[in-house]
């Protein structure tokens, strides 16, 4: 199920502003890759370019080559909805659909893409909620609104919603930054389990989190405000955190950010 992502020379713009430049990185299947770096260095922009969410904003465009198991996702004739179904995304703030019940939130991706059979939906709902470690908490109130859950539960609901469409890759944009430490722990455990099935890329500002959950870490940075963000170093997490090649990586990791 999990697939490899290859980015070659990816550059992304917001109108005239160049947000990231020349990012080249390969992300292996069934692994967790953490993207770290200071604010505004383009981690989220790169993440959004990977499932073609970047182009949703007016004036935003992407250059370079991004491929999923060899298939260029920006090629002409590629269906953007199919790309997003293969590459799911979890956002910084939990965003359950407010008009839908917990059940409908989880199966929204299937239902809105034409799956009608109740048995299929029921099965997908239970599996997704179980994988998201939420099933036991909500099994008796599936018809209640999703917005009524706590913040951490809502985020796990959004993860369940994402994995219910059975993507190959799951992107997470600071999924724990709005959550308390206990909910964060629950989601980190979940990421660890999801790794067996999916390719995961996670943007985080929390370096302990990157060290805890990821196999490989990519450090992004900008030389000064207004310059595009670049990939400085990408390596095995333990190496990045103990013996980085680049001075800038070491400065950032140790807190001497300059």
């Amino acid at each position: 199920m999990a697939k490899r992502i290859e980015a070659v020379g990816v550059t992304a713009y917001y109108g005239e502003f160049k947000a990231i430049e020349d990012i080249t990185i390969t992300i292996e299947p069934r692994s967790v890759t953490a993207l770290i770096g200071p604010s505004g260095c383009g981690k989220s922009t790169f993440l959004r370019a990977v499932n073609r969410m970047h182009e949703v904003l007016p004036g935003a465009r992407v250059e370079g080559r991004l491929s999923l198991d060899g298939q260029d996702i920006y090629e002409r004739g590629v269906d953007v909805t199919a790309v997003r179904r293969s590459i799911g995304m979890v956002f910084q703030r939990p965003n359950p659909f407010p008009t839908m019940s917990i059940y409908d939130n989880v199966v929204a991706g299937l239902k809105l893409n034409g799956v009608r059979k109740k048995a299929v939906l029921d099965d997908a709902c239970e599996r997704a909620l179980t994988s998201a470690n939420l099933w036991d908490e909500v099994r008796n109130r599936l018809s209640k609104p999703g917005a009524g859950l706590s913040g951490g539960q809502q985020q796990r609901l959004c993860i369940a919603r994402t994995i219910a469409v059975e993507p190959q890759v799951v992107l997470m944009d600071e999924p724990c930054s709005a959550l308390d430490p206990i909910s964060t722990g629950a989601i980190e455990d979940l990421i660890f389990e999801l790794k067996n099935e999916f390719t995961i890329i996670i943007v985080t500002h929390n370096m302990q989190q990157a060290a805890r959950v990821s196999d490989r870490t990519a450090f992004f940075s900008i030389s000064q405000t207004g310059d595009p963000g670049r990939l400085i170093e990408h390596d095995v997490t333990s190496k990045i955190f103990t013996n980085p090649r680049e001075k800038r990586t070491e400065d950032y990791i140790t807190g001497r950010f300059g």
């Binding site: 997003r84 965003n95 008009t99 019940s101 893409n113």
Partner: protein, 356 residues
């Protein structure tokens, strides 16, 4: 650490006026005002003047009492609060007055006869006669206008918010703003010149024809910009996070709009539609111009004159008959009741579709 020399340093407790003091001051100022107006003969007297003077005296009295006991800031707070309550009461007065006048004057003729009969054959000397024909007209015209404008208005709003980019969308927005300001009589004249005198004759052996449908068209011209604008505002309130959440599941844009954005904005859209419907139901001039008004029942909105409640009220209010005013008031009460009922039903429907 040295002691703080802040001007706010010290105890957090402040002296407060006792709970009963505002009431005591209110009673006192009412008494003083009553004496000044009636015994002192201030400005010719009257109950309204008494209340105005009492309100002013209350604010001055409360200000002084609060200033002495609680301090300057608390006094200002109390005066500001009472000003806000007074403004609220003032705003509510005309509304209550309208409702009271309508109910007290309109209830006389609210009988079964009034709702089941038209004005066909009713002379100036007959006390009976009713609004059956006018209710039919209003309901048909407003229903047709709503059927035309709701899909168009929502579609236009979706275009502006979700799809429109650049100059075209900006131009459309601008013209919708201009259309919002069109006087209703102009909308009526437009339909009169266009539909009644140009289009209708083609289907009517060359004769111009008034009709309820023409009235519905005139009302549509008035409702469309209102519905589009309110719907646009509601769609803009839907957070982008929900749209992105849906896109990220591989849901196409049009389906995201239909299944995520519109349901989220639905309660607000219903409110906007009901405001437009209420306004249309009360329009008189354009309906009179193109539907012509009638004293008899006409179930067919596509041919011949049709009555509406607003024309009926206008007609009866000016009619030379001692029984006409009562009919006008009862019809006005009916119109308000109709709009109120529609609004309540629409709100309940919108709430039912939401989750509990």
């Amino acid at each position: 650490m040295t002691t703080l020399s802040s001007p706010f340093a010290g105890s957090l407790r402040r002296r407060r006026l006792p709970k009963w003091s505002p009431w005591a001051i209110a009673a006192g100022s009412l008494g003083v005002s009553f004496l000044a107006v009636y015994a002192g003969g201030l400005l010719g007297g009257g109950p309204v003047l008494t209340i105005v003077v009492a309100a002013l005296a209350y604010m001055v009295g409360l200000n002084i009492a609060a200033r002495v006991v609680e301090g300057k800031r608390a006094a200002r707070n109390r005066v500001a609060s009472s000003l806000i309550y007074s403004a609220f009461t003032l705003a509510l007065l005309p509304l209550l007055s309208v409702v009271w006048t309508l109910v007290s004057k309109g209830v006389d003729r609210l009988d079964g006869d009034f709702f089941t009969h038209s004005m066909n054959g009713i002379t100036a000397f007959d006390a009976n006669g009713g609004i059956y024909h006018a209710i039919i007209g209003t309901v048909q015209q407003v229903a047709i206008a709503t059927l035309i404008t709701v899909p168009l208005g929502i579609a236009a709003a979706i275009y502006i918010v979700e799809y429109g980019r650049g100059k075209l969308a900006a131009a459309i927005r601008f013209f919708i703003d201009v259309m919002t300001g069109i006087p209703s009589i102009v909308a009526g004249l437009f339909i009169l010149a266009f539909w009644v005198f140009v289009v209708t004759p083609v289907f009517n052996d060359g004769r111009a024809g008034y009709s309820g449908f023409a009235a519905a068209l005139a009302l549509s011209v008035l409702m469309l910009p209102t519905i589009t604008r309110s719907c646009e505002e509601m769609l803009r309130l839907v957070p982008d996070a929900l749209r992105e959440g849906s896109y990220a599941l591989g849901v196409p844009k049009w389906k995201t709009v239909m299944r995520i954005v519109l349901p989220t904005a639905l309660p607000g859209i219903v409110t906007g539609v009901m405001l437009a419907v209420a306004r249309a139901a009360g329009e008189t001039a354009p309906v009179l111009l193109v539907a012509g008004g009638s004293n008899s029942i006409n179930f067919n909105p596509f041919s011949d004159n049709q009555q509406s409640l607003s024309i009926y009220i206008w007609d009866q209010a000016g009619a030379a008959s001692q029984y006409a005013p009562a009919r006008a008031w009862a019809a006005a009460l009916t119109l308000v009741g109709l709009v109120l009922t529609l609004t309540i039903v629409a709100k309940l429907l919108a709430r039912r579709s939401k989750l509990r």
